[in-house]
């Protein structure tokens, strides 16, 4: 039986798609057969971040509507064994996501995959609701910033009341925090919320802290999940987070300012 993960946040632009691409890749790298689904109907971007935008023929909505077979819509990643992408439609809107349709596709996927990762759109409307409804685990992507923290709290409330697990009175959806765009130097100056502040406010366990990193933009420019950039702090932090998700005990890195040596100061390059 496969596990369904939703990558969600409420607020837009905090790094859901970046994190979905990285996380799905990380799970596949560890040998789990993984599919990542784009739920942002009409504003698809997971294909670009994963670098498979030119290989999209059929999509999630075509499969829901019975216009294509699931195998025709699934895109196999060219770099990583065990990794598949299910892109969404760029022309339809969120109404195309029916609960029955989504359930049918997820059921079919769960026969084949170990992990199904749902990349939620921003907001708390249909697309976001459908992406979290069937989830077993939720990863809450949050920036250390007031509006993102507030929206994360809101989405936690939605998970606790409107997910399938909540509606059917099952074991609740497990929730973990992924704090992204963290800048330890600004935290030290008192300009940014600390990891502990966010944890205290949201009161959910910490999955990982992804440092603000230029590697994220570089990776999306070329359509490569940032976790594959193994020399970047962000890539390493995602890799750690995947390990923790799988139950490994890994210490948090990149949460305090790095001491810069003369050499890196001269190079002026922060990975």
């Amino acid at each position: 039986m496969s596990k369904i993960i939703v990558m969600t946040s409420g607020k837009g632009g905090v790094g859901k798609t970046t994190s979905s691409a990285a996380f799905a890749t990380g799970l596949a790298l560890r040998g789990f057969k993984t599919v990542v689904i784009d739920f942002d109907v009409g504003l698809r971007n997971l294909d670009l971040v994963m670098g498979c935008e030119r290989r999209v023929v059929f999509d999630f909505i075509n499969v829901i509507n019975g216009e294509a077979k699931l195998n025709q819509a699934l895109i196999k990643d060219k770099r990583i064994e065990n990794l598949y992408i299910l892109p969404t439609s760029q022309t339809r809107d969120k109404d195309a996501l029916t609960r029955e349709g989504v359930e049918k596709v997820l059921n079919e996927l769960s026969k084949e995959f170990d992990y199904i990762l749902c990349d939620s759109p921003a907001g708390i409307e249909r697309g976001a609701l459908m992406s979290l409804y069937f989830a077993d685990h939720a990863i809450i992507v949050t920036n250390p910033e007031v509006s993102s923290v507030r929206d994360s709290d809101r989405i936690l409330g939605v998970l606790n009341s409107r997910s399938r697990r909540a509606e059917q009175g099952l074991e609740p959806v497990t929730q973990q925090l992924l704090l992204t765009r963290y800048d330890p130097e600004r935290v030290e100056k008192g300009e940014m919320l600390k990891v502990d502040d966010v944890l205290e406010i949201l009161a959910i366990p910490l999955l990982g802290v992804i440092p603000e990193s230029q590697a994220v933009l570089r990776a999306s420019n070329v359509g490569m999940p940032v976790i594959l950039d193994e020399v970047s702090n962000a890539g390493l932090a995602y890799s750690d987070a995947v390990g923790r998700f799988l139950g490994e005990d890994i210490e948090h890195r990149f949460v305090t300012p790095q001491k810069k040596g003369l050499f890196s100061r001269l190079l002026r390059r922060s990975a």
Partner: protein, 122 residues
């Protein structure tokens, strides 16, 4: 940086303010999420009771919810028709103290809000 800045007290870190503001706003949002949303109903019923005795114009009702740190104030201002001025009782107020606050938290003095009670416009 001038030498004078060195002696000046450091301004309160903005991150500290961010945390405090979040804690306040989210305490209220969580309280509202778990409890029943009775405010619209309360407002309707209050209006119904007043309408039994006074002829009120529903467009001239002003509802204000003021969420403070320790105490929230629901203020309902109802404008009475000029002729019925004598009939007093123009505004109804309800103050609620949200659950989960520290015991002994300072409650806002009631006098501040009473100033608005009985407001009439002619």
């Amino acid at each position: 940086m001038s030498i004078f800045n060195f002696f000046r007290a450091a301004p309160r870190a903005s991150a500290v303010q961010a945390k405090e503001r979040l804690q306040i706003v989210m305490a209220h949002e969580r309280a509202g999420r778990s409890g029943p949303d009775y405010l619209p109903m309360l407002q309707q019923e209050l209006l119904a009771v007043i309408a039994k005795y006074v002829n009120i114009d529903e467009n001239k009702v002003e509802v204000k919810l003021d969420r403070g740190g320790d105490c929230s104030t629901l203020e309902v201002n109802i404008e009475l028709p000029a002729r019925e001025q004598a009939k007093a009782a123009a505004a109804t107020k309800a103050a609620e103290k949200p659950a989960g606050n520290d015991v002994g938290a300072v409650k806002r003095p009631a006098g501040g809000a009473v100033g608005n009670a009985g407001k009439k416009r002619i």
